[in-house]
Symmetry: C2
Subunit: 357 residues, 2 copies
DNA sequence: TTGTATGCGTTATCAC
DNA sequence: GTGATAACGCATACAA
């Protein structure tokens, strides 16, 4: 990388000492009162004289006092912190979900600790353990493609920490879940293709160990069934979930003796983009000769030529829903917890790549 | 939103009790030793019998012990946590920088607390204060467009917390900085346009209170100067930093008596996209009649028609650089700190939208 | 309304 | 090598 990004250093000096922070004791000492009073005042307790309260707050500001959340949390046994584990922070869908979570939790004074599993089971376990150690009040997770057992998640529950799964979830775990109705969305997408007159619809499917991709396949199959269309095995391509794999799959499909006239890239819009690029390369008219439908409503689907039909997952909204689910759960907080599943119905966005009629 | 995303609930019940977590005392009690020995063993101290150490670690696992990081950090006065404040988590550039930071810090066993300022000065202050309260070891920040004073950042330094600014930085603060050489990149972009034969180059500029945008403007002006080209005021459009504003600016420019033949959207690729869409709408040939150059190398710039010339900022790499800067700083950790500035040179990526020759 | 005393869970510093 | 003890900074039950 050094060679790509040229780096140069400008060095100047500055003296900085590790200051000892002011504590409530410092404030107490200065005002000749006890730390408990200071603590009470700073927590806006009603059991403290209004005048001294104001004085305390004033002095705290003067001394540049900052509460030590560590100590406070340790004492209270609650951190007001939510841990989030996603496969990749910088994937549009996930960063939007995070933004949604952040927006809601921020208003309630909660913090977020964010980890990425990099689609690795091992790292996911480490992330989860770190969050447990950090005493987060809740862990929000979308499991990695590589995750095949869920001991680490069971562990979260065992520790008495709230657990919310979203998007990619482990069905067998009885936790709160916020998911997309992938099956229905997929079903509608394929129905749309059929209604546009496409007769031979291929499917690019994702890793089938993830339920989201299994559901999308089911939706596809159901749609074919509804319209009495045959299931052609050679039209179903496995693990085509990147742009490159989508492109490769497309070349394969277009070299079949019996060509498909539409491709549903159920894995992602990136995959759909791969399809489109191959089609454009081969001068295959989209949507006339080939219909293309993606998944996720990535920003770019709107601006390709032709624009790509896709499915919006309301990612931001999903994040807000997750946060609200947690807070709602907290409100009726007994020793008994009632897990809930919220399914958000994605929306088919019809664009040029499938508009023949 | 409720009407957009259809929601339904599936409810089932489950009993979950707030478990008391096992502590080192529980382990000590079980093994008839003291907590100090347990602590030592768990921290892999050499001053503990190898046999009992193994036994302790084994029982810890059996009892499903998880270290309470809060207590540990409180005692140690160090959290191994880095706070990150960005204007928007779900903006490509920032989420990539975060991913880069995460990758490096993770390897060192550090955690990240991520906040977004939503481009608001007020929220930025709150974020920074929260991070101070959390006793993070370092704060990494890219300031919001709305931030006009830097007391909150000075405060960070006053608390003895490391501060690293990146991308959008407050120059006057003597902190570590990781920045892009915006001026140079901008200069090269405009030189490229000129070398492609464009004679009348307009500039879409960003909010001038942010140094990044000021520098990009300077680069633009320097390039014109180098080639003895006149500076035409009406060719410089303020605050055109979204797709919509870029489009509006373009319509304005294209209605001038004297038209520009190239537009440098120095603010962002989104702005450049706005330009392109207007050009396409008006059937203006790009690059023949109008050259377009954006900034940031967003993924979509590659797939528009024509593809958009832009500038890559090495965002991931920037994140890694930030993290490394911190660790390097920590290594020669005296009471004296030597702030450093690292400038990463962005790279011009020439694509179809400016390739006339 | 205020002060006293204690504990949250861990680690560091002493002794032994 | 191990144990006792204090301390990190704060919040709260209880006493006054």
């Amino acid at each position: 990388m050094q060679s790509i990004a040229q780096i140069y250093f400008i060095i100047f000096t500055n003296i900085m000492k590790r200051k000892k922070r002011t504590t409530i004791y410092d404030i107490a000492e200065k005002l000749n009162i006890t730390a408990s009073s200071v603590s009470r005042a700073l927590n806006d307790s009603s059991h403290v004289n209004e005048t001294t309260k104001k004085l305390i707050i004033k002095t705290a500001a003067e001394l540049n006092y900052k509460r030590n959340t560590l100590a406070s949390n340790l004492r209270k046994g609650q951190t007001k912190t939510i841990g989030v584990v996603v496969p990749r922070i910088n994937q549009n869908f996930f960063s939007n979900v995070i933004a949604g979570i952040e927006e809601t939790t921020y208003q309630k004074g909660y913090n977020l600790i964010i980890c990425q599993s990099n689609e690795s089971h091992e790292k996911e376990i480490k992330c989860v353990n770190t969050l447990i150690n950090q005493h987060v009040d809740c862990i929000v997770i979308s499991i990695s493609v590589d995750t095949y057992d869920f001991k680490h998640l069971q562990n979260v529950l065992d520790q008495g920490i709230q657990l919310i799964q979203f998007d990619r979830v482990a069905d067998e775990l009885e936790t709160m879940k916020v998911i997309n109705d992938n099956e229905q969305a997929s079903f509608e997408a394929v129905c749309h293709l059929i209604e546009q007159g496409y007769k031979k619809i291929a499917l690019l499917e994702g890793p089938q160990n993830l339920d989201v991709f299994r559901q999308r396949k089911i939706g596809y199959l159901n749609a074919l069934k509804k319209y009495d269309m045959p299931i052609i095995d050679s039209f179903i391509i496995e693990n085509a979930w990147t742009k490159e794999l989508g492109a490769a799959a497309t070349r394969k499909l277009l070299s079949l003796p019996d060509l498909p006239d539409a491709i549903f890239a159920s894995t992602s819009d990136f995959s759909a983009l791969g399809v489109l690029e191959v089609a454009n390369d081969l001068s295959i008219n989209v949507p006339a000769k080939l219909g293309i439908c993606g998944y996720s409503n990535e920003a770019f689907t709107e601006i390709t030529s032709p624009s790509i039909t896709t499915i919006d997952q309301f990612s931001m909204y999903m994040g807000k829903t997750i946060a609200n689910l947690y807070f709602q759960e907290m409100e009726n907080n007994d020793t008994v917890v009632i897990p809930k599943i919220i399914s958000i119905k994605p929306k088919l966005i019809v664009r040029s790549s499938t508009s023949r009629v």
